[in-house]
C-alpha cells in the first residue's frame, strides 16, 4: 500500500519528500493495531499482506530512521545532481522494506526483496565512481543471495504446496530433517547477504561507504535489519531444537564476523569505511544473540537491532556532516573539528558511548543482556569471542572521535563551520533516543516483547509501564539496577565537574592546541603535529596473522580462476578473441551457475 503510494510520487522537492514520509508514517501508525490481512489473487496465486507484531517492530525502525534520513538529506544532498533519481530510489527502498515486513507469503517477500536490492543498488552507483568494481560486488552478492532465496522458496513450495507463510510455518515441522535443513540454509544465505555475515560480507564496506551518507543511514540502520528480520523468521518460526547444530554454526559465524570485522575497522583510515566495518561487526552481535535462542538472548538481539539503527544512524549522519563541511572523511587529513562543529561532536560522542557499551547509555543494556544470556546458557567460548570484539571496538570508537574531532587544529580545516540545522536536528534526536534507551529501556522492551510473542516466545516480561523497567535480571537471578547506576554516575560527575570548574576559574584561559609542551621546541602554526598515520600500528602487528589474508583475496582468486576457465572455453568454441569486460563475464558465469541449478531442479 505504502509502496504504491511512494511509487506514484516522482519526488523532486525536499518539502514534498518530507511530507510524503510524514504522511506514510502517519498512515502506517494509524493502522498499527490493525491485524487484518489483505488477500490478492493473481492468476491462481494467493498473495497475502498484513502486519504482524514482528513486522511492527522493524517498521518502526524503518519509518523513524527513514523520516529522519530524509530530513537530513534535504541539506546533505543540496547542490548535487540527479536528485529525482536519488529520491525516487530512496523512497522506493523505504516502501519495499515496508512491503517485506508486511508480506505474509513468500512470493511477495521475494518480490519486495528484489525491489529493495535494486533500489539500493541504484543508490550505491549514484556517485558514478567505481561502478564496475564496488557496485558490481554488491550486485553479485545480492544476486547470489536472491538465487539462494528463490531456490529455497521453490523447494518449500514443492514440498508444502503453498506460498503462504502461515501454511509454511504450520507444515514445516512435518518435513524430513534434510528438507528442513536445506530450505533453511538456502533462505539464510539469502538473508545473510543483507546482514553481511562473514563469508558474504565483502560487499558491505564498499557499498556502505560509496553511497551518499544520507542513504547509508538507512542502508546500515534499516536495510540490513531486513536480513535480521528474515533470520528471526527462519530461526524461530521454521527451525526447531532438533537442528541445534544450525544455531551453533550460525552463532559461531556471527562471532567470527564480529571479531574480524572489528579488527578491520580498527585499521581503517577513512571514517566511512571504519563505520561500515563496524556495522558488519555489530550485526554479528545481533546474529549471535538470535542464535542462542533463549528468551533473554533474543530480547538482547532485537534490542540491539533497534539500538544499532539508532546509534549507527547518528554516526553515519555525523560523518556525512563532516564530509559535507570539511570535504573529506579521511582521518589522516581532518582533525580538531571539535571547536568548529561542537553539536556534531556531541551527537557523535553520545552514540559512540552507546556503541561501545559504556554504562549508562542504551548500548550497555543491550550488551549486558547479551553477555548474561551467553554466560547463563553455557556458551563460554562464544562470550570470549564477543568480548574480544567489543574490547577491540573501543579502539575504533576512540579512533573516530580522535581522528575527526580531537587532535591539533590544522590550518587546512580553519574554514569549517557547523553543519546546517536540518542536519543537526535528526542527529540530536537520535542521540537523545540513545540516552533515553539507557535510562528507560522499557520503551524498546515493549514492542520487542510483542515481536517475541510473534516468534513463539512466551510473555515473560513483567507487566509494567515502559518507564518502570529499572531492574534487569538474568537467568540466574543476578540483576542490575539501572537508576542506581544513573544516580551514581550523574552525582559524581556533577560534583567533580563543579569542583574542577569553579576552582581557579577566573585565572584560566583557552590556548590553542599548538601551544603545548614540546621539550623547548617552538611549534609554528603551519607545523602539522597531529598523530594520525598508522594510529594502531602495534595492534596491526599483533593481529597480523588474522589480517594477512582477506576473504576478498579468495573471491578475487576465484574470479581469476573463472576468468581463465572462461578464456579457455572461449578459445575452443569461438576461435577468435572477442573481448568481454572482466566483471560482466564473471557475472554471467554466476548467473548461469545459479540458473542452471535452478532449472535443473
Amino acid at each position: 500500500m505504502s509502496f504504491l503510494l511512494n511509487k506514484i510520487v516522482p519526488a523532486l522537492r525536499d518539502v514534498f519528500n518530507v511530507a510524503v514520509m510524514l504522511f506514510v508514517s502517519f498512515f502506517f501508525y494509524s493502522h498499527m493495531g490493525n491485524t487484518a490481512v489483505t488477500n490478492i489473487y493473481i492468476g491462481g496465486l494467493q498473495l497475502q499482506w498484513g502486519l504482524t507484531a514482528a513486522g511492527n517492530l522493524f517498521s518502526i525502525i524503518v519509518l523513524v530512521l527513514g523520516l529522519l534520513a530524509i530530513i537530513y538529506s534535504t541539506s546533505y544532498m543540496k547542490g548535487k545532481e540527479r536528485l529525482g533519481y536519488f529520491y525516487f530510489n530512496f523512497l522506493l527502498s523505504i516502501g519495499s522494506m515496508l512491503g517485506i515486513l508486511m508480506s505474509r507469503d513468500l512470493v511477495s517477500l521475494f518480490i519486495f526483496w528484489e525491489i529493495m536490492t535494486w533500489s539500493s543498488y541504484f543508490i550505491v552507483i549514484y556517485s558514478g565512481k567505481n561502478v564496475d568494481k564496488r557496485g558490481l560486488k554488491y550486485f553479485i552478492f545480492s544476486a547470489i543471495g536472491a538465487y539462494a532465496m528463490l531456490m529455497g522458496i521453490v523447494l518449500a513450495y514443492s514440498y508444502i504446496g503453498s506460498f503462504l507463510l502461515d501454511d509454511v510455518f504450520l507444515s514445516f515441522p512435518a518435513l524430513g530433517y534434510y528438507r528442513q535443513i536445506s530450505i533453511s540454509i538456502l533462505l539464510m544465505v539469502g538473508f545473510g547477504v543483507k546482514t553481511a555475515m562473514m563469508p558474504l560480507h565483502v560487499w558491505a564496506p564498499d557499498a556502505y561507504s560509496e553511497s551518499p551518507m544520507s542513504f547509508t543511514v538507512l542502508f546500515s540502520g534499516a536495510l540490513s535489519k531486513m536480513g535480521v528480520f528474515g533470520f528471526a523468521l527462519v530461526m524461530f518460526n521454521l527451525l526447531n531444537p532438533s537442528s541445534q547444530i544450525i544455531y551453533d554454526v550460525i552463532g559461531w559465524m556471527g562471532a567470527i564476523t564480529a571479531v574480524l570485522a572489528t579488527f578491520y575497522a580498527v585499521v581503517q583510515k577513512d571514517a566511512k569505511k571504519l563505520l561500515a566495518y563496524s556495522s558488519v561487526a555489530q550485526l554479528g552481535y545481533i546474529v549471535v544473540a538470535l542464535s542462542i535462542n533463549t528468551y533473554l538472548s533474543v530480547m538482547a538481539g532485537l534490542y540491539l537491532a533497534v539500538l544499532h539503527a539508532i546509534f549507527k544512524g547518528t554516526l553515519f549522519m555525523a560523518v556525512g556532516a563532516v564530509e559535507k563541511q570539511a570535504g573529506t572523511t579521511d582521518m589522516t587529513k581532518v582533525s580538531g573539528l571539535i571547536r568548529k562543529m561542537p553539536w556534531t561532536f556531541l551527537a557523535t560522542l553520545i552514540s559512540i558511548i552507546s556503541l561501545a557499551g559504556i554504562p549508562p547509555l542504551g548500548g550497555f543494556i543491550g550488551k549486558w543482556m547479551l553477555y548474561e544470556s551467553l554466560v547463563s546458557s553455557g556458551h563460554y567460548f562464544l562470550i570470549i569471542m564477543i568480548f574480544l570484539s567489543s574490547t577491540a571496538a573501543f579502539l575504533y570508537c576512540y579512533r573516530i572521535l580522535f581522528g575527526l574531532f580531537l587532535g591539533q587544529e590544522e590550518e587546512e580545516t580553519a574554514h569549517v563551520k557547523e553543519a546546517p540545522i536540518s542536519m543537526l536536528i535528526p542527529m540530536l534526536i537520535l542521540a537523545g533516543l540513545s540516552i533515553l534507551s539507557g535510562a528507560f529501556p522499557g520503551f524498546i522492551f515493549k514492542p520487542v516483547q510483542q515481536a517475541m510473542l510473534n516468534f513463539g516466545f512466551g510473555d515473560l516480561l513483567p507487566k509494567l509501564n515502559w518507564w518502570e523497567f529499572t531492574v534487569l535480571f538474568n537467568a540466574w537471578g543476578d540483576k542490575i539496577v539501572i537508576h542506581n547506576i544513573w544516580i551514581s554516575i550523574i552525582v559524581v560527575f556533577l560534583v567533580g565537574l563543579a569542583f574542577i570548574t569553579i576552582k581557579g576559574w577566573k585565572n584560566q584561559r583557552y590556548v590553542t592546541t599548538k601551544d603545548i609542551s614540546s621539550s623547548g621546541e617552538i611549534i609554528r602554526p603551519e607545523d602539522n603535529m597531529t598523530f594520525q598515520q598508522n594510529f594502531y600500528r602495534p595492534i596491526e602487528r599483533a593481529v597480523w596473522p588474522l589480517m594477512k589474508r582477506q576473504i576478498d583475496d579468495y573471491y578475487h582468486a576465484f574470479a581469476r580462476g573463472l576468468e581463465s576457465l572462461f578464456e579457455f572455453t572461449r578459445r575452443i568454441y569461438m576461435g577468435n578473441g572477442q573481448m568481454y569486460a572482466l566483471f560482466v563475464v564473471i557475472f554471467l558465469v554466476i548467473l548461469l551457475l545459479g540458473g542452471s541449478q535452478f532449472f535443473g531442479f
Binding site: 553455557g378 574490547t391 576512540y398 580531537l406 560527575f493 567533580g496 595492534i539
Partner: protein, 303 residues
C-alpha cells in the same frame, strides 16, 4: 534519614579508598627505591604531592573535553567503588553502598569508562605524545582484558552466578578461596593484573623516557591532582575486586589491608626488576600463556 546514612556511608568508603590507595602509592615508591638501592621518599609523600598540585593555580586549558577528562576518570573510579563490596559478612553497613545493584559484567564496562574519558581529554590537548600514549593504552587493554574475562567467565561458569556478592557468599559457605577452588582462573587473572596496573614491563602507556608521560603530559595542577586521586581510588577498587573474587573477601579492615597489599606486591615487584616491552610484545604476551591457562580454567569450571 535513610538517604543521609547512605550518603555518609558512601563518603566514608571514598575516604577509606582514597587513604589506603594514597598510602599504597607511597609505599610502592619506597619499595621500588629500596630495590634500586635508594632511600626513597616517606610513605606519605603522595599526600604532599597532592597538596602541592591542588594549591597550584592552573592558568590554561585546551578545551571542554580536556577539562572534563579527569572528571570522567574520577566518576568511573568512584562509581566502580560503589559497586564493589569492601568487606564481607554482616554489620558493615557503612561500606555496603550499591553492592547489590550491579554485577561483574557491569563492573567490567564501568572500569573502562574512565580510561576512555581520560583518552578523550588527552586527545584534545593536541600533544602527539598523548595520542601515542592513548593508542598504546587502548591496544594494551585489548591484550589484558581477554585473560581477565576468561578468568571471570571460569568463575561464573563454575558457580552459576555473575554477582560479586554471590561469589563471595559461595566462598564463605564452602570455606575455600577461589584461588584454590579454581587455581587456573587465579593464575590467568594474575597475568591480567600485571597489565592492568601498568607497572613495568607494561608501563608502555606513560613510558616516561619515550613519550614524556604520554596521555597526562598536558595536564597539570588541579587536573593532575584529580587524576592522582582517581588513580589511587581505582587501584584500591581493582585490588578489592581481586580479593573479593579470589581470596574470599575480607572480614575486617586489617585483613583487607593485608590481603590487598600482598596482591599488590605481585605487579609491583615484577615491575621493579623488569625493563619495558614494546607495545605489540605487550599485547601478544597476554595472548600466549594466559590464554592457555584461561582455557584450562574454563574447562576445569565446566567439568
Amino acid at each position: 534519614m535513610n538517604i543521609l546514612t547512605e550518603i555518609l556511608g558512601a563518603i566514608a568508603t571514598i575516604i577509606l579508598a582514597f587513604t589506603v590507595g594514597m598510602f599504597y602509592g607511597g609505599t610502592v615508591r619506597r619499595v621500588i627505591a629500596r630495590l634500586q638501592n635508594r632511600v626513597g621518599p616517606p610513605i606519605y609523600q603522595n599526600f604532599i604531592d597532592l597538596l602541592k598540585l591542588q594549591s597550584k593555580s592552573t592558568s590554561i586549558h585546551h578545551g571542554a573535553m580536556q577539562h572534563m577528562g579527569p572528571v570522567f576518570a574520577i566518576t568511573a573510579s568512584i562509581t566502580s567503588l560503589m559497586f564493589v563490596p569492601i568487606l564481607n559478612g554482616e554489620g558493615w553497613f557503612w561500606f555496603e553502598n550499591l553492592n547489590f545493584s550491579g554485577d561483574l559484567i557491569f563492573l567490567l564496562y564501568m572500569m573502562v569508562f574512565g580510561s576512555l574519558g581520560m583518552a578523550l581529554g588527552a586527545g584534545q590537548t593536541g600533544n602527539p605524545n598523548s595520542a601515542i600514549g592513548v593508542s598504546r593504552g587502548l591496544s594494551q587493554m585489548v591484550g589484558y582484558e581477554i585473560p581477565f574475562v576468561m578468568a571471570l567467565v571460569a568463575l561464573m561458569a563454575q558457580f552459576h552466578t555473575t554477582s560479586i556478592t554471590g561469589i563471595m557468599d559461595i566462598q564463605s559457605e564452602s570455606g575455600t578461596w577461589m584461588m584454590f577452588a579454581n587455581p587456573f582462573a587465579f593464575i590467568t587473572a594474575v597475568f591480567a593484573m600485571l597489565g592492568m596496573f601498568h607497572y613495568a614491563p607494561f608501563d608502555i602507556v606513560i613510558a616516561p623516557a619515550e613519550i614524556a608521560s604520554g596521555p597526562i603530559s598536558e595536564f597539570g595542577g588541579k587536573y593532575l591532582g584529580v587524576m592522582m586521586t582517581s588513580g589511587s581510588i581505582f587501584a584500591f577498587v581493582k585490588l578489592v575486586l581481586y580479593v573479593d573474587l579470589f581470596m574470599g573477601g575480607a572480614s575486617n579492615l586489617v585483613m583487607l589491608v593485608i590481603k590487598t597489599f600482598s596482591l599488590y606486591m605481585i605487579p609491583v615487584l615484577w615491575g621493579a626488576v623488569s625493563p619495558r616491552y614494546r607495545t605489540e610484545q605487550a599485547i601478544t604476551y597476554f595472548w600466549k600463556w594466559p590464554l592457555v591457562f584461561g582455557f584450562i580454567a574454563i574447562v576445569w569450571a565446566i567439568y
